[in-house]
């Protein structure tokens, strides 16, 4: 048990206060009412089997932040890092700020934020490995780095940037609410260290001494609706109408006078109209593995469904010729699909911090779309592998098994595909949280699947294709491209006008990555026109072959570029950073200039 000093100052002790029955979200604060069976056990902290007699042990606790008072002295975050022995490049708690007004009527609002131990812990629900647990004790949401395999999905879904992906250690770790201190009756290290009367801690919905409010929002803090966070605020001083961030996210929070709430929007003052390529950043991000995985999986699922379709229905709808073509290219097609899918899955697995723990990906199939995606894709893989094997033989038993395998692949493919889409519908990531994510994935399945089949058929038939095959492939590709394009048009319009981080994503899309974005759009338009022309006029001869090859490359390039933009442009609804710390812009600068090579810069150098 955490050792309390004989002369421990009074401010460090958890106060004895009466809490209401329910919190502001309508949830019971006393967690033992619904989870009585979980009470009276040891938390087993560092193998200490004692059981605390903290009278509020089964009440939901949370942080209290008085934003009027915070001076950004960093004592809270330092006390946290000291206690948890954290390296300089990472922190469980961070202080950022927003600022507004004009000298000398200038206001800076500092925000200290760690984990909010939410009622709806999206991290826990998203984590594929079940590394997260929400305890009945204090309502703490704890994460176990020994289970985590370092996929970082929890860092995507958390709106507060609470879970920290440690790129050096290859796993996530986060705020543990200092449950060891709580068990001893003390507030967490951060709250005990506060030097400004800003950060406090206690049973949720209780107001510390000398404080009045129990707000669930302040400017810069993402909406509480996503996760029902267990943090309460006081913020009484009138702030300027616009509060801007100082980090590289060109975002401000604008007061809506009708509601009094501050809404995120693009900071016009700081924006520039310069269009850039930024290809290096675009193509070398940590999320590259996802580009490879999603595109290849979608291509393979699309292609396999086309194969199945051709096999089972080709004759009926007048594409017997196509079916025959596919059928005769059966082996190279299936092998290619398997290889391609293996490539995508390997890329995904190798990008994990702890690839050898890949098998844990299914653990949270009850809650996590990631687990379901992995399960679905794995099932699909099994299905097509089975199909490839058994359809090779020509007898009734293997035929039946092949049919069954096809069904398995179908189920796995559809399920995997759906959850692959679903896992990107993250409220904390507005740029992704749009149906366009789905249209893009479906579009890719059609266009890349169609293209893949067309290429394989042509390769296995001496670089020739019948007009009917060309026609069907072109129609499939065209359908995919049109779906993709339609989604993009709606998405861009929606993001541009949105009151969210999506507006900033759109701004980055048209400036920082403006040239890359334009190239993708031009390619997409050209591809659509070219494929449409092929649908109308067909394709033949050497010229046709050259056009076909060029067009294929163009479609592929557009797909990769588009998917890379998808990953690099997302801006989470995260907490504002400071000028150096938690500023993505400075982190990049430190890596580019070599400042990051000095460990005390607090930025991991690029080779990690």
């Amino acid at each position: 048990m955490f050792k309390v000093r004989k002369d421990e100052p009074e401010y460090a002790y958890l106060p004895d206060v009466k809490a209401p029955q329910q919190n502001q979200y309508g949830k019971k604060i006393d967690l033992s009412i619904e989870h009585g069976e979980l009470t009276g056990q040891s938390l087993n902290i560092n193998n200490d089997t004692s059981i605390s007699d903290n009278p509020d042990r089964y009440k939901q606790h949370g942080f209290y932040f008085n934003a009027d008072n915070c001076i950004s002295c960093h004592a809270c975050e330092s006390a946290c890092s000291e206690k948890n022995d954290l390296p300089p490049y990472l922190a469980y708690r961070a202080v950022g700020y927003v600022e507004g007004g004009t000298y000398p009527s200038y206001t800076r609002l500092n925000i200290s934020m760690a984990c909010n131990h939410c009622d709806n812990p999206v991290c826990l629900k998203g984590c594929p490995t079940r590394a997260y647990t929400k305890y009945a004790e204090y309502g703490a949401v704890l994460q176990d780095p020994d289970i985590c395999f370092g996929c970082g999905y929890c860092t995507w879904v958390c709106p507060y940037n609470a879970p920290q992906l440690d790129m050096k250690k290859g796993h996530v770790h986060k705020c543990n609410m200092c449950v060891d201190r709580l068990e001893a009756g003390l507030k967490p290290a951060c709250a005990s260290a506060c030097l400004a009367g800003a950060l406090d801690f206690g049973v949720i919905e209780t107001t510390p001494e000398n404080r009045d409010q129990l707000k669930t929002s302040i400017p810069g803090f993402p909406t509480a609706e996503i996760t029902n966070p267990n943090i309460r605020f006081q913020q009484t001083k009138t702030l300027p109408q616009d509060m801007s961030r100082t980090d590289a996210t060109v975002l401000k929070y604008h007061r809506n006078d009708a509601t009094g709430e501050y809404e995120p929007m693009l900071d016009e003052q700081r924006k520039s109209d310069k269009k850039d390529w930024n290809l290096k950043k675009l193509l070398t991000s940590h999320e590259n593995a996802h580009i490879a995985f999603t595109l290849s999986t979608q291509a393979v699922i699309g292609a396999f469904f086309i194969v199945l379709f051709a096999q089972y229905f080709g004759n009926d709808i007048g594409y017997a010729d196509f079916a025959a073509n596919v059928s005769s290219a059966y082996l190279p097609v299936m092998v290619t699909l398997l290889v391609l899918l293996s490539f995508g899955m390997a890329k995904l697995n190798l990008h994990l911090g702890r690839p050898h723990r890949f098998y844990r990906g299914f653990y949270n199939w009850r809650l996590s779309p990631v687990s379901r995606e992995i399960a679905g894709v794995s099932l699909f893989f099994t299905g097509i592998a089975g199909y490839a094997l058994f359809a090779y033989f020509n007898n009734e038993i293997t035929g039946t098994i092949a049919d069954l395998s096809a069904v398995v692949a179908l189920i796995g493919g559809v399920g995997g595909f759906y959850y692959m889409y679903k896992l990107y519908r993250i409220p904390a990531r507005p740029y992704w949280n749009h149906w366009q994510t789905g249209s893009s994935f479906i579009g890719s399945a059609f266009s890349l699947g169609g293209l893949l089949i067309a290429l394989l058929v042509s390769l296995t038939h001496g670089l020739t294709m019948t007009a009917a095959t060309i026609d069907l492939s072109a129609k499939l590709i065209l359908t995919g491209l049109l779906i993709e394009a339609m989604g993009l048009v709606f998405h861009a319009r929606n993001m541009k006008n949105s009151h969210s981080e999506g507006a900033v994503s759109h701004y980055e899309q048209t400036t920082t990555y403006g040239k890359s974005y334009r190239l993708r759009n031009i390619l997409l338009a050209v591809n659509i026109i070219a494929v449409a022309l092929i649908v109308v006029y067909g394709l033949s001869g050497v010229g046709g072959m050259v056009i076909g090859i060029l067009l294929s490359l163009s479609i592929l390039l557009s797909a990769v570029l588009g998917r890379a933009l998808f990953y690099v442009l997302v801006i989470p609804t995260t907490m504002p950073g400071a000028f150096f710390w938690r500023n993505k812009g400075f982190e990049e600068h430190a890596r580019e200039t070599g400042l990051a090579e000095m460990p005390q810069t607090g930025v991991l150098p690029p080779h990690h």
């Binding site: 000291e82 390296p87 400004a196 200039t593």
Partner: protein, 726 residues
């Protein structure tokens, strides 16, 4: 395990395995927090915590203190003494005897060739009081140079000078407990939340219990300015005009405490005559604070039951720093706010032991607030040390800021730097570089081999740091506190006390004087030498300091608690027992912005760094909050110049140029930039540093610069990175 899993997993939480906590006092600023350093079973320092029952910090620490245990293992420490013929040769490792012999020989050579004062000693505010006293004994009693000063000339010299001029002696009369009693607090050029977070916390605690007006005078909208009830965004360098005008209003409206003035002060008539020139209408044009606000503030302050002023570098580091301090003292004397709970003039000190050097190092005189100018003081000390009083000069020698120009013109040939880094800390870096090059012989004694001044050293002596040694610090509120030895000095480095003692042995006169081996032995001399004086230590012992977590002087023999305040009886240290109200005409001699150099350059501290970053620049968990230099600039001005947020810009002054990363913020006015002074080859490449006529402290905070956008941002980034090693 509400949900997430069925089987309860054991929880792992970092455990540093602390088996023992050792008592120390923080080695950064002068707040004087009591710190306990946690040792694991191998004796390694692994944790820090604020001592819970210490009155100063009551268990709290700022971020620098929180990571102070990491000091023991940061890079750049000196291990072995180093020597070289010329500064442009490579250093070679040597042993202590050779290095100390060499230093002693060079001191003797220089003194015999060019005179005793041709060798200068410049020390610090960083080492222990016992070490300061021993160094003073060595410098004044053995080596006998009168060009001996400390880097406190760069930070607290104006406060010292102002206290002496007003009250007859140095010594801040107030304490932190005054926050609990005051009815109005006015802060001049002091940014407590950033510079002294624990003192801010004490103030905040007092404000939580009882609301009273807080007035902050600062050209920048600091967090303190933002939290204040009234913020006076004063024009840089014009505080004295504001102070005189506040006095004008108080006199004009009859709000002064005439009975206090009559019975405790002199100089009233002259003071009143000078103040008459600073009516709010005239003063407003100088200091940029409108006349109504001046009147409002003056009334608020004068009408408060008790009112206190605090100040830091905003006052001290200006061309009239000493006058500014006297102006604050005037304000408090005329309102009867000295020596009473909640009524005081409290300078908020910078370095952990700036007070210790002021009290005991004999830089500006002789130990125990004694003056070279006083015959009785010279005799007392000479007798105590057992030397001839005639060995002492009869007037103090040069200040640090005059020692360097004397090197420039050849009067001083050798120098010993102790725990100070003028290459980064002094104004006009280019000039300092040239000056250091000119020395015949430079010895640098520092814990950090990579401190930039070492570039010009002929001998480098590696010293221990903070709790690698034992001894005392005195804090801002005159509290003497103890640092227990926690671990042994890094490598072959030695405590500064040991180095001074060894050096003394190499001089004939050093053999005659007793140099106690242990810090506690030295402390005993302090007790004897201070007995019956204002800074009476005689009631203190190491044991008592540890158990009470520090004691405030005067603490006379038998006194168990020490004294929170000075001058409670209205008796001051001038020979007539009275304080002086001083006539302080404001002379505007600053380098003000003009067409060619249109911006003010203001410099200052950030919470995560200490001084020249030889320590904080290497502790990742604090350095990360500003790992590279930057400047705050107003976005409206930046727009006109095409300067962008997060990019680099070039600043030029009449001294040199600097390339700095830009942080755009409305915290600074359109005609000003603010640059943290901590970084090497940055702010001080630009500063002018006109000297205060009384304190010789440089005006770091006021000079004029021009700013231009940098086209080649990549080259700028490279230049910035290459300019410093940490």
């Amino acid at each position: 395990m509400l949900f997430g899993r069925n089987q309860k997993k054991p929880i792992k939480i970092a455990d540093k395995g602390v088996v023992d906590w050792k008592y120390t006092t923080c080695g950064y600023c002068s707040t004087g927090c009591s710190i306990e350093v946690g040792l694991d079973k191998n004796g390694a320092a692994v944790a820090t915590r604020g001592a819970a029952s210490a009155d100063v910090n009551r268990g709290k620490l700022c971020l620098k203190g929180i990571f102070e245990h990491e000091l023991f293992k940061i890079p750049g420490r000196g291990d072995k003494p180093l020597m070289r013929k010329n500064f442009y040769d490579a250093f070679e490792q040597t042993d202590w005897d050779t290095a100390l012999d060499k230093v002693a020989d060079e001191i003797k050579r220089i003194q015999s060739t060019y005179g005793r004062d041709a060798f200068a000693i410049v020390s610090t505010g960083q080492i222990m009081t016992e070490e300061f006293y021993t160094l003073g004994k060595l410098a004044r009693g053995v080596i006998g140079t009168n060009n001996y000063d400390g880097n406190t000339t760069l930070c607290m010299s104006s406060a010292v000078s102002g206290y002496k001029r007003s009250f007859g002696s140095d010594g801040p009369p107030g304490c932190y407990d005054d926050f609990e009693h005051t009815d109005c607090l006015m802060a001049f050029g002091s940014n407590l939340p950033e510079q002294h977070p624990i003192i801010y916390w004490r103030l905040k605690q007092a404000l939580e219990k009882r609301k009273f007006p807080v007035i902050v005078v600062d050209p920048r909208v600091t967090m303190f300015a933002q939290m204040a009830d009234i913020h006076l965004p004063v024009t840089p360098g014009t505080d004295l005009a504001l102070l005189n005008s506040l006095a004008y209003v108080i006199l004009d409206e009859g709000l002064e405490d005439q009975s206090y003035i009559d019975s405790n002060t002199t100089g009233y008539d002259e003071f009143v005559k000078t103040v008459q020139h600073y009516d709010p209408v005239s003063a407003a044009k100088i200091c940029g604070i409108d006349e109504d606000t001046i009147r409002h503030v003056a009334r608020t302050y004068a009408k408060a039951g008790s009112a206190m002023s605090i100040w830091t570098m905003g006052i001290n580091q200006s061309t009239h720093g000493s006058d500014g301090v006297c102006g604050i003292n005037n304000l408090n004397l005329m309102t009867g706010n000295i020596g009473k709970p909640g009524g005081t003039s409290l300078s908020i000190t910078g370095q952990c032991n700036a007070m210790g050097t002021r009290e005991w190092s004999a830089c500006s005189g002789l130990p125990g607030y004694r003056a070279l100018e006083k015959e009785q003081d010279r005799e007392e000390v000479a007798k105590f040390w057992g030397i001839d009083p005639e060995f002492f000069p009869k007037k103090r020698g040069l200040f640090q800021t005059d020692i360097f120009p004397a090197i420039e013109t050849g009067q001083i040939k050798g120098m010993w730097l102790i725990a100070t880094n003028p290459m980064t800390s002094m104004t006009n870096t280019a000039r300092i570089r040239k000056i250091l090059e000119k020395l015949d012989f430079l010895v640098v004694q520092d814990a950090y081999q990579d401190c930039e001044s070492n570039q010009y050293a002929n001998v480098y002596l590696p010293a221990g740091v903070w709790a690698e040694k034992e001894g005392c610090f005195t804090n801002t509120e005159r509290r003497v506190n103890l640092i227990r030895n926690v671990i042994k000095p890094h490598g072959d480095s030695k405590p500064d006390l040991w180095i001074f003692n060894q050096m003394a042995k190499r001089f004939e006169q050093g053999e005659k004087i007793k140099f106690p081996e242990t810090a506690e032995g030295v402390f005993d001399e302090l007790r004897q030498l201070s007995k019956g004086r204002m800074l009476d230590y005689s009631g203190m012992s190491y044991e008592k300091l540890e158990s009470q977590k520090g004691l405030q002087w005067p603490c006379t023999e038998g006194d168990e608690t020490g004294s929170p305040r000075l001058y409670t009886d209205g008796q001051f240290q001038h020979p007539d027992g009275k304080a002086k109200l001083l006539a302080l005409p404001f002379i505007d001699n600053n380098e003000v912005p003009d067409d060619e150099y249109p911006f003010w350059m203001n410099s200052g501290r950030v919470v995560e760094h200490f001084h020249t970053r030889t320590r904080t620049g290497k502790v990742g968990n604090i350095n990360k909050f500003s790992p590279t230099p930057y400047m705050e600039m107003n976005p409206d001005s930046a727009k006109e110049l095409g300067i962008t947020h997060g990019g680099y810009a070039r600043l030029t002054s009449r001294r040199g140029d600097s390339v700095v990363m830009v942080q755009l913020t409305q915290r600074v006015p359109p005609n000003m930039v603010f640059i943290p002074f901590h970084f090497h080859e940055c702010a001080n490449r630009l500063t002018l540093g006109l000297l205060d006529p009384h304190s010789r402290q440089p005006a770091f905070k006021q000079c004029a610069v021009k700013i231009e956008a940098v086209v080649d941002q990549q080259a700028a980034a490279v230049r910035n990175k290459e300019a410093r090693a940490f």
